[in-house]
Amino acid sequence: MKNFNIYLTGVGGQGIGLLSEILLRAADKAGYPVKGTDTHGLAQRGGIVASRIRIGDKVHSPLIPEGEADLVVALERHEALRGMNLALRDGGTLVYYDAVWQPLPVRLGLSDEISENLIRQECRKRKITGIKVFHENLSDARMQNIALLRVIHQNKLIPELTAEHYRASMEDLMEGTMLQKNLEFFSAPATE
């Protein structure tokens, strides 16, 4: 496979780590060389978490050069914009869960909340395929990451990775009812 770079981002506590680990292992299961790394300095305290996954033979560093991500996966709307601005190449793909966790300046009334429309405009300008994911009645907010995984799979956003790879990877990392619940949700037919 030609190098394929995935940049994942969100706010500490949203489950980026698990989603990233699922993608990393899925790529490994598909037989591709893969590297990744996380940055989560103070992320546990509501800061930004970033994770990178790099698939391909010519990958050296676990860090993605600016503007060279093929796919940005975001779990929050503000971080979707920040992530695509920083990491995504023109013509790449953004998939984001439309949760809104307002950053401090928005809550203090110093900045405006980022709207869906702004993200759409930015996508149009840079020929980016933007996919918004949102479930009105998700039983558990902690499944937002699997909601994204579902869409990543259904739209084949990572070349060559199949449902089997994702499923096997989830089985590596979860067990019991958590695994069951997430597998069911992952496998349910697309409703969007």
């Binding site: 940055t39 546990q44 971080e79 840079r126």
Partner: protein, 627 residues
């Protein structure tokens, strides 16, 4: 990979996707390491997470979180002097704390061998500076192995441990943030468990191990001889890498993560320079460097943080009379920040513009996302504390911060923190601030883990030198910032439940009479107590207590059927004074375009700490769910 613990103890060779920190633990297992110690700090706490995944009875080594990095170093040293291969690990600035003991290590004949694992933090992702700990290695004659990825973390640790044991000397394995946290498939070797040998192997007759006055010199001589031996070993080590592209013009000497960034950048280069990647960055192999310099017209030293390799290499060139052009750091930018692929691109481009293509111009973005500073969690007791304390202090009072989650109090809307140095420094700084200061009162914050770590000397000093300040101890029962490690007042150590050493009793034992204490959710009371304490002469203490809610919520969520019930806003009662969102500042409050405040249900844990903050009583906590 179902269970990390089983994986780490597998007896047959295997491969697995792991992060650098986990690879290190497998390396310790295979190397026969017997004693491991630490004090938690990013980027290294996942080393302990991996250790914890091995059930205590099956663990092939002893592990503890010590009260601070210095004590951790001493415990590991003591064990090594008794013949047990030991390892101490901590974050970059942890070495400052450990240094008084650390700098002595190379003077000692360390029977069992001892590896010091450092998690340096170029880019200051989670530290108060980006110090380059190779300086400490030079000062203490301690060799440094520097891996670039998880596979090398594994193989370099094993080699460092082997040499350390063989030569009975300390060796550093220096990791950096994105080496600790990098993930890839690593090939591991086999391992056979060996029973612990209880024989005493410390023999005082091998000493004396007392480095004072002239007894220092033979020990220093031994340290220097060891260093020379390692310099020779480093030259022949298969861990170095020479990327030979038959280029007689361009050569690059580098090490660690910058090597990977360099390979990334060179994918688009007009021609491929030769690269010497050093595994041992101190002492530098004279032979390898000489050969490399002689084979190239110009050599660039690509080095993250300070110009340590550069100076060594230039010295070698001078002494060996080599005329090769050596390019090192040019300006401050070269000294600052992590050497990511983007940074390395800039460095190479600046020096050898002909080698790299121009980057396409970045299109302007329509808008940028507002910054997202780290925040205290929903329900955090520190937030309630800062909200209450803000009502007790005035503008000209000086607020001295310390290290911990409560450091975040310096941010708006609280602005509770004007100055910060390092762990445990607040009481000492506050004492100095109180001298010749009759207008502003001084308050100092301190966390409970830090209280034991480095806080005590400052407190005792303030007491016996009669300084005038109020110390506020933010007690949450855990070392929260680094991932909830227990400390002396937690009631458990890493391995088992133990009697807690209560902070209050320690203070009482010192003879401090002015000790006030309350749960931080009792905000009115806390405001009053802080006012009272600040009016008292000498050192007064307020213990502002509330358990870490992140830890508590994680434990609760594991129970089947648990559901938190968020607060609601009574829209008819809300008078839009925004006390909740602008002054209390819990991230669960959502400020809507139409001026309404609503609640983010993903975030609110229903703790109710905000209820009394609203002047219009518009925050409603559903009854019966008070946690």
């Amino acid at each position: 990979m179902k269970k990390m613990g089983d994986m780490l103890l597998q007896e047959n060779p295997f491969s697995e996707i792991v992060m650098g920190n986990t690879a290190l633990v497998r390396a310790m297992v295979e190397a026969g390491t017997r004693v491991v110690t630490s004090y938690p700090g990013s980027p290294t706490p996942e080393i302990a997470t991996a250790i914890r995944s091995i059930p205590p009875a099956a663990r092939p080594f002893y592990f503890e979180f010590s009260t601070n990095e210095k004590v951790a170093t001493e415990v590991a040293f003591g064990a090594a002097m008794n013949g047990h291969l030991s390892t101490v690990f901590f974050k970059s600035v942890g070495l400052n704390v450990a240094s008084d003991s650390f700098v002595q290590l190379s003077l000692m004949k360390i029977t069992g061998g001892m590896v010091i694992v450092l998690g340096d933090d170029p880019g200051a992702n989670s530290s108060q500076n980006e110090q380059d700990n190779r300086h400490f290695a030079h000062m203490s004659y301690t060799p440094v192995f520097e891996p670039a990825n998880p596979s090398e973390v594994y193989s370099f640790y094993r080699e460092a441990a082997r040499i350390s044991r063989q030569r009975q000397m300390p060796i550093i394995v220096r990791l950096t943030t994105h080496v600790c946290h990098a993930k890839e498939r690593v090939e591991f070797g086999g391992w056979k468990p060996k029973p612990h040998d209880p024989a005493i192997r410390f023999n005082a007759a091998d000493g004396p191990f007392i480095p004072i006055t002239s007894m220092v010199f033979p020990k220093k001589r031994r340290a220097l001889e060891n260093l020379s031996a390692i310099e020779r070993i480093a030259g022949d080590s298969g861990l170095n890498r020479l990327v030979d592209n038959q280029n007689q013009n361009y050569g690059i000497i580098t090490a660690g993560l910058p090597f990977l960034s360099l390979l990334e950048v060179l994918e688009n280069a007009a021609e491929q320079p030769d690269i010497l990647k050093l595994a041992v960055v101190y002492p530098v192999s004279r032979k390898r460097v000489t050969q490399f310099l002689q084979a190239h017209d110009k050599v660039l030293v690509l080095e993250e943080l300070d110009n340590i390799l550069e100076k060594e290499i230039k010295l070698i060139a001078f002494e060996e009379k080599i005329g090769t052009g050596i390019i090192g750091k040019k300006d401050a930018e070269d000294w600052i920040g992590e050497y990511t692929p983007d940074k390395v691109f800039q460095v190479i481009k600046k020096n050898w513009p002909e080698l790299l293509p121009d980057k396409p111009e970045k299109q302007d973005r329509i808008s940028e996302a507002p910054p997202r500073p780290a925040q205290m969690c929903p329900g955090c007791g520190h937030r309630a504390a800062f909200h209450a304390i803000a009502k007790a202090v005035s503008e000209q009072d000086i607020k001295v911060a310390d290290i911990g989650c409560h450091t975040l109090g310096f941010l708006p809307p609280y602005k509770m923190g004007d100055i910060l140095l390092c762990m445990g420094a607040s009481t000492g700084i506050g004492s100095g601030m109180s001298l010749f200061n009759s207008t502003g009162k001084v308050i100092a914050f301190l966390g409970d883990s830090t209280f034991f770590h480095a806080g005590l000397p400052g407190i005792i000093n303030a007491l016996f030198n009669k300084h005038q300040l109020t110390l506020i101890i933010m007690e949450n029962g855990t070392t929260a910032m680094t991932g909830h490690q227990s400390h002396a007042a937690s009631g458990e150590n890493f391995n088992e439940p133990v009697d807690a050493i209560p902070v209050r009793k320690v203070l009482e034992g010192f003879g401090i009479e002015q000790i006030h204490e309350t749960d931080t959710y009792q905000m009115k009371k806390l405001t009053e107590l802080v006012k009272k304490a600040m009016a008292e002469p000498g050192l007064s203490v307020v213990i502002a207590k509330h358990p870490c809610m992140l830890k508590q919520m994680r434990e609760k969520r594991r129970r089947p059927g648990f559901k938190s019930v968020p607060v609601t806003i009574l829209q008819d009662d809300c008078t839009r004074r925004y006390e909740c969102v602008e002054k209390f500042g819990c991230p669960s409050f959502v400020r809507n375009k139409d001026g309404r405040i609503t609640i983010n249900h993903d975030l609110c844990i229903g703790d109710g700490s905000c209820v009394r903050v609203c002047p219009s009583q518009a925050i409603n906590l559903p009854k019966g769910d008070r946690k």
